[in-house]
Subunit: 283 residues, 2 copies
């Protein structure tokens, strides 16, 4: 997905949010915004928004002097997510269509975000996604692609989703006898999943974990490790989770299925759906 | 009011909105954002947000090649406002406390904004403000100040509010025998009221119209005409309407009463109220 002009105010909003996460010093926060302003004129609109996201968070890390400003918050939400795992696994096992319920659970993981205040809100929101109609629903082609492959890639999004992804992966590996490669970011970026998060949620017990090589909030093929590139090129089915991976992979000619909840108006428009919609979309 | 860091993403949002109002050329819209980015590091945080607003709209006018990008939209909303005038005047005349209802009507005018889609929405929203509780309500001191003066200043905000302000001004001039000086912007800026808008709504029949000298979305004493400065300095009561005037005058040691609906989270926080609240606040 290209960068829309509407992304530009949002870059500053994200930069400020990240700067506040990294430092309490208002002068440093201001410096972050000034440096983003300096970068702005160099950004071609045909680059993807996470490319600018990568630059923004590099600026934040440098000025705040912190390699992982989101660490504490990530740890907190990882623990919340893992507590929800047994109940949601039970829901999938008992579902009329466990695969579809597994997909819904994997999308629901995406709502554990820093805005959520209470567990009650969270469980209510998850419940809603488990019942919500899909705005885009390429489920038949997904099932067909799954049937015809022995191995699939699942590209992770936020750290707190990992516990939810595990439920879908367990279903695919244990019940459908497929092999899953779980792809995480190379370095911490915002609250995106890294190898530590995947290990915390025990993904190593059900899938092979590899790094995409990315240090930005998306999957950049230009930064891909040889290992990831090899898996990506031969894949017959790729599950891509969340907005950042959609933004960076939406123009790749690959058998990718995007699982996400549209939280941003620009992405919703690009997808042809509304903010709040849930999506299972093939390329 | 100082510029908060949260104002910075909003400067880009406003700039993009204004650029789109001024030109359909996406490259020019992008150029507007790049130029705002160039200005950003020069902005001291102790300047008021409308000072940057002034610069932003200068950039837009220059790049879009239009001296008044909002003209068409302003004209449309002026006509909508004037159609509502007789009915609202009747409401004030019949009210238990006409002065308070006049103040409510003057605040209600502030919601005629570019986001409003239908007349039904608009009338419903006005109705709500006519009944809504005030979050800050310095009405007793307002009445006292009004009682002790023969002349007052009313500093206008949006063009579409002028018809609503006229109702309050008529009450003050006709029933209470006071003289009103109605202060408008020197040049078109966003949808702010200029002399043309004041004349369109017949303010000249009930008040003396003067310019504040401002070509920005607020009242800048540094740009004040001699006439405005003289009135401002001797005033025993000043009604300041809307957010832009609050932002630029909130630190002046003058008998100013701010009438507004808080639409922005930063201003709401500065005032100590919530977004959506209505306010009659003395300094």
């Amino acid at each position: 997905m290209k960068t829309y002009l509407d992304c530009i105010p949002c870059f500053f909003r994200q930069g400020l949010e990240a700067a506040r996460m990294g430092t309490e010093d208002e002068e440093k926060q201001r410096k972050v915004l000034d440096e983003i302003a300096k970068e702005l004129p160099q950004i071609p609109l045909n680059s993807t928004p996470p490319e600018m996201g990568r630059k923004i968070h590099k600026i934040v890390r440098r000025i705040a002097g912190s390699s992982d400003p989101y660490k504490k918050t990530k740890d907190k939400y990882n623990k919340i997510a893992i507590r929800l795992y047994p109940k949601l696994r039970g829901r999938v096992e008992k579902a009329h269509d466990p695969l579809l319920m597994g997909i819904r659970v994997a999308i629901a993981g995406n709502i554990i975000d820093f805005g959520v205040n209470t567990h009650i809100d969270l469980e209510q929101e998850i419940e809603q996604i488990l019942k919500q109609d899909f705005a885009i629903f390429d489920y038949i082609s997904f099932k067909k692609a799954l049937e015809h492959t022995d191995e699939l890639l699942c590209i992770a999004d936020n750290s707190s989703e990992v516990a939810f992804d595990r439920i879908l992966i367990e279903l695919i590996t244990e019940k459908l006898n497929k092999k899953v490669i779980y792809v995480v970011r190379e370095k911490p970026i915002i609250n995106d999943a890294t190898i530590e998060d995947a290990l915390f949620c025990g993904i190593d017990k059900v899938a092979r974990i590899i790094s995409s090589g990315s240090d930005g909030p998306g999957t950049f093929l230009s930064l891909a490790t040889n290992e990831f590139r090899a898996y990506f090129n031969r894949a017959e089915l790729i599950i891509s989770k969340g907005q950042g991976n959609y933004e960076t992979l939406s123009e790749e000619d690959k058998p990718i299925f995007f699982l996400l909840k549209a939280k941003c108006p620009v992405i919703a428009k690009d997808l042809g759906c509304k903010v709040g919609d849930i999506v299972l979309r093939s390329l």
